[in-house]
């Protein structure tokens, strides 16, 4: 993911927003396929690790509409069989599958998004909107691990001097409540030191600027331009009905009008754009290495 991480967070944010907007509001099987393929490719070339828990969650979420839609939606002309006096139609099954794929693809895109957008990148985005809010968030992110670590220390200290008299739930809850109450005092007490440290470094003497380590480089401009054009073409296809696809009353066919084809190509390129960069940089690096 390194080569894609090197872009400015604004570029990255725009890209993910564009892909998700198109991918999430279309049930056209071509778009769904491209979106799913693009997300998988990015996760694969970006070497993003997906934990078992993540995997289970993704599968469960996408199975949900596949199983539920045919049971509750009885539109469609092609009846496969009748369940409890309710017809289960082919159209409803296919629509369920399309929704499942759409959810899976969206989740995978979000996974890639969270792998790229670390907390400081998100803060940078926030600071573009409101610098004050961004500072507050940064301080909160600083405080959470500090608070958690101190709570752990207090728990251990109290255990070792016998706060929890017996091994039972009631003593556990009682002890926990007291630890929490003292942690509030601790947080206030330490807040004073932090406030001193801020004031000593001139906080509040005038208008602040907001510093970020991210630069907006030439490659950001190029990337943004590319993705904006592709996003625009896709959006045009959405608006003019190029991505139109009917499931009810009978499953339709994929349109092959010029608008549709241009739309498909545009979205296809958009969804593989970061993976292509990763792959290209990989190859280029290998080439350089072989020259050395």
């Amino acid at each position: 993911m390194r080569d894609f991480e090197a872009y400015n967070p604004i570029t990255q944010f725009f890209y993910f927003a564009a892909v998700l907007i198109i991918g999430m509001f279309s049930v056209n099987p071509v778009i769904l396929g491209l979106s799913l393929f693009g997300a998988c490719a990015l996760l694969f070339f970006g070497k993003v690790r997906i934990s078992k828990g993540n995997c289970l969650f993704f599968v469960a979420m996408s199975l949900l509409p596949i199983l539920l839609n045919p049971l509750f939606d009885h539109h469609g002309d092609t009846i496969l069989f009748v369940l409890n006096d309710n017809p289960v139609t082919l159209e409803a099954v296919l629509y369920g599958i399309a929704s499942g794929v759409m959810i899976l693809a969206s989740l995978l895109w979000l996974k890639a998004f969270s792998a790229v957008m670390t907390s400081d990148r998100l803060l940078y985005l926030f600071s573009a909107v409101s610098p004050k809010l961004a500072l507050l968030l940064s301080m909160t992110l600083r405080y959470i691990p500090l608070f958690a670590a101190q709570t752990g220390k207090v728990q251990a200290a109290q255990k070792a001097i016998g706060l929890y008299k017996e091994d039972n739930v009631i003593d556990g809850v009682k002890g926990g409540a007291r630890v929490f109450s003292v942690m509030v005092t601790w947080a206030l007490e330490n807040g004073i030191i932090t406030a001193d440290s801020m004031e000593a470094r001139g906080y509040g003497i005038g208008r602040r600027t907001s510093f970020a380590i991210y630069r907006f480089r030439k490659k950001d401009v190029i990337f943004l331009l590319f993705s904006a054009v592709l996003f625009g073409l896709s959006l045009y296809a959405v608006i003019t009905g190029g991505y139109q696809f009917d499931y009810y009353p009978t499953v339709g066919t994929v349109s092959a009008s010029p608008v549709s084809v241009i739309g498909f190509v545009a979205f296809g390129l958009l969804s593989i754009l970061p993976s292509a960069i990763l792959l290209f940089e990989d190859i280029r690096w290998k080439y350089y290495q072989s020259k050395i």
Partner: protein
């Protein structure tokens, strides 16, 4: 030119009856390195905060503080924030933001500096302080030493003229503390930065200081050029305890209160005052022989005692893929002794203690406490009249809003209630807390917090007391008193295991010391033998005596050895009859006047 001068400064906190500072006058030249010393409560921190306008506490102030000839209060907010930098004691709480780079930029952001300038300054500072390697990190991943270095760098990034430091190394281990102080000294030396520092580690600070300001009860006790001031302070017992080992040795040997015959001969350099280890070595070698190489070894008092703690082949790691923090750790502590575990950062000292106290469980090996396996103490019975742990951060012991509630909670009978049936009472403690009962535990000084926490920990009447870094952040005087309390507890039959970085403390407190390295004990011995066996990881006193005397660990040991080697103790050497007579009189416990 004088960069800062304080004229007749007096200050009382709002609502306080007595002044915290009275009539303090002091001036600092550009490029000075000033060490501010004094006991707890002498007004050091108040004085330093007076010099930083943003941090001045509420109260009545008289006198003047001038920065480059200009009244501090008339400085623009921008200049005041920029020109005078302040680093506080606790590394954690001073950090404002969540990323290292953002923290470095924070002060410059406040000044409203443009992006490109901030980028340049931050980059320069990160390079100078060696922060580049962890520039992008989250601050919660840093070590204590790195955090404090970050605090220093994020003050230095504003290019201050004066740097004020309030016990910046109190929460650091010795290695990190030395690195930090060396960085400060380099800033002073290379950039001619004016430094005013409050510090307990005088061993490291005094040799680099140009000036010393000693405060006592809010007044200037002594001030001036470093060497001269040390010489003055040497004569005052209460100031002496905190001074470097070489100074204390020379003071003990040349003080007028010691027997006349043992006084150092009236050579022209009698008044000379060694400060560093090197000077201390020369000072001793030029005055004392080394016919008596070592003091007689005291018999081992605990040779016959049963083991209170028996640790065998202990293995522990924090995560499945992590390294073994305890790596086959084995040692035994005998009932009634004070056992010190020493070792560098990450050697597993604190982890060992948390396994001993049952907070964490080892994945292999056995721990026996008083002959019974740790796992067999069921239902929290380990913590009932058996084991107690005084943690490193004593604030974690407190749960209530006053010391009184804190102690009542722990089941300690307070003096105003009479129903001491078997429960521990405040008067059983070797120290007095009655004056602190109505204070909030967080408002106490570090030393006082330590004692209240100790009282609370002792309420469970433990037979085995575990202490994690008990001397961290304490000044020399408080430390000495704390040591005497531990000795009193030992006398009452308690076994103590102390984890510490503090070699001076271990040399005086321990019956036996053990060195931990990468999770196993490397050497275990009685402190004199232990420290004499080490060349680097040892006390300053031992480094002074090394190669000349054997088995000397503490300042007292060295002083005893010097006395044993003094001509007065050795009849073979030519002495005037008078001094011999006087020495004899003293040793017989009589005063010359009584004879007459």
């Amino acid at each position: 030119m004088e960069i800062l001068s304080v004229e007749n400064l007096s200050f009382s906190y709002a609502g306080a009856s007595s002044p915290a500072l009275s009539d303090v006058s002091f001036s600092v030249k550009e490029g000075d390195f000033v060490a501010v010393i004094g006991a707890t409560g002498s007004g050091k921190t108040t004085f330093l905060r007076m010099l930083k306008r943003e941090l001045q506490p509420l109260g009545a102030l008289t006198g003047r503080i001038l920065y480059q000839g200009q009244e501090l209060s008339t400085l623009s907010p921008r200049d005041s924030a920029m020109k005078i930098g302040y680093v506080m004691q606790r590394p954690e709480q001073q950090i404002v933001t969540d990323r290292v780079w953002h923290e470095l930029a924070f002060g410059l952001e406040n000044l409203g500096m443009p992006q490109e300038q901030i980028r340049r300054r931050v980059a320069e500072m990160a390079s100078y302080f060696g922060i580049e390697g962890w520039f992008l990190k989250n601050v919660s991943e840093l070590s204590g030493g790195q955090k404090q270095l970050l605090n220093l760098a994020s003050v230095m990034v504003m290019k201050p003229d004066i740097l004020l430091l309030d016990e910046p190394t109190a929460q650091l281990d010795p290695i990190a503390a030395r690195d930090f102080l060396e960085t400060v000294a380099a800033l002073n030396r290379d950039l001619s930065l004016t430094v005013i520092i409050i510090e307990h580690r005088l061993e490291e600070v005094i040799p680099v200081a140009h000036k010393i300001l000693a405060l006592k009860d809010g007044r200037v006790f002594a001030a001036g050029e470093a060497h001269e001031t040390v010489k003055k302070l040497r004569e005052v017992p209460e100031m002496l305890v905190g001074l470097p080992a070489a100074v204390r040795i020379s003071a003990a040997l040349s003080k007028s209160c010691c027997p006349v015959g043992m006084r150092v001969s009236a050579a022209p350099e009698e008044n000379s005052c060694p400060i560093t280890v090197r000077e201390g070595r020369e000072w001793i070698r030029s005055r004392f022989g080394n016919q008596v190489k070592a003091l007689p070894v005291a018999p081992d008092r605990f040779a016959e005692a049963d083991n209170a703690v028996e640790v065998k082949d202990l293995y522990f790691r924090y995560t499945r893929d992590g390294r073994d923090v305890l790596n086959g750790l084995s040692f035994a502590v005998r009932t009634g002794e004070i056992f010190c575990l020493l070792g560098g950062n990450g050697s597993g000292k604190s982890t060992a203690l948390s396994v001993l106290s049952g907070i964490r469980r080892a994945y292999a090996g056995s721990v026996k406490i008083f002959g019974k396996k740790l796992q067999e103490y069921k239902n929290q019975s380990l913590y009932k009249e058996c084991v107690a742990l005084l943690p490193q951060d004593v604030q974690t012991v407190f749960l209530r809003n006053s010391v009184r509630e804190e102690l009542e909670d722990a089941g300690i009978v307070l003096p105003d209630k009479r129903q001491a049936n078997g429960r521990s009472s405040l008067s059983d403690l070797p120290f007095d807390l009655t004056g602190l009962l109505d204070r909030h535990p967080y408002d106490l000084s570090g030393g006082q917090q330590q004692l209240v926490a100790l009282a609370k920990v002792l309420a469970g009447k433990p037979k085995l007391l575990l202490l994690d870094e008990p001397t961290k952040g304490l000044d020399a005087d408080t430390k000495a008193r704390f040591l005497s309390y531990l000795k009193a507890l030992q006398k009452s039959g308690m076994t103590l295991v102390v984890v510490t970085h503090d070699t001076e403390f271990a040399a005086e407190a321990a019956d036996r010391c053990a060195l931990l390295f990468r999770g196993e004990t490397i050497s275990t011995a009685e402190p004199r033998a232990f420290f004499s066996g080490n060349s680097f990881y040892t006390t300053a006193a031992n480094r002074i005596a090394q190669g000349y005397y054997d088995l000397a660990a503490s300042v007292n040991d060295v002083v005893e050895l010097c006395r044993a080697n003094h001509p007065a103790q050795n009849p073979a050497q030519n002495l005037t009859p008078k001094t011999v007579q006087n020495a004899d009189l003293k040793s017989a416990g009589e005063t010359p006047e009584a004879r007459v």
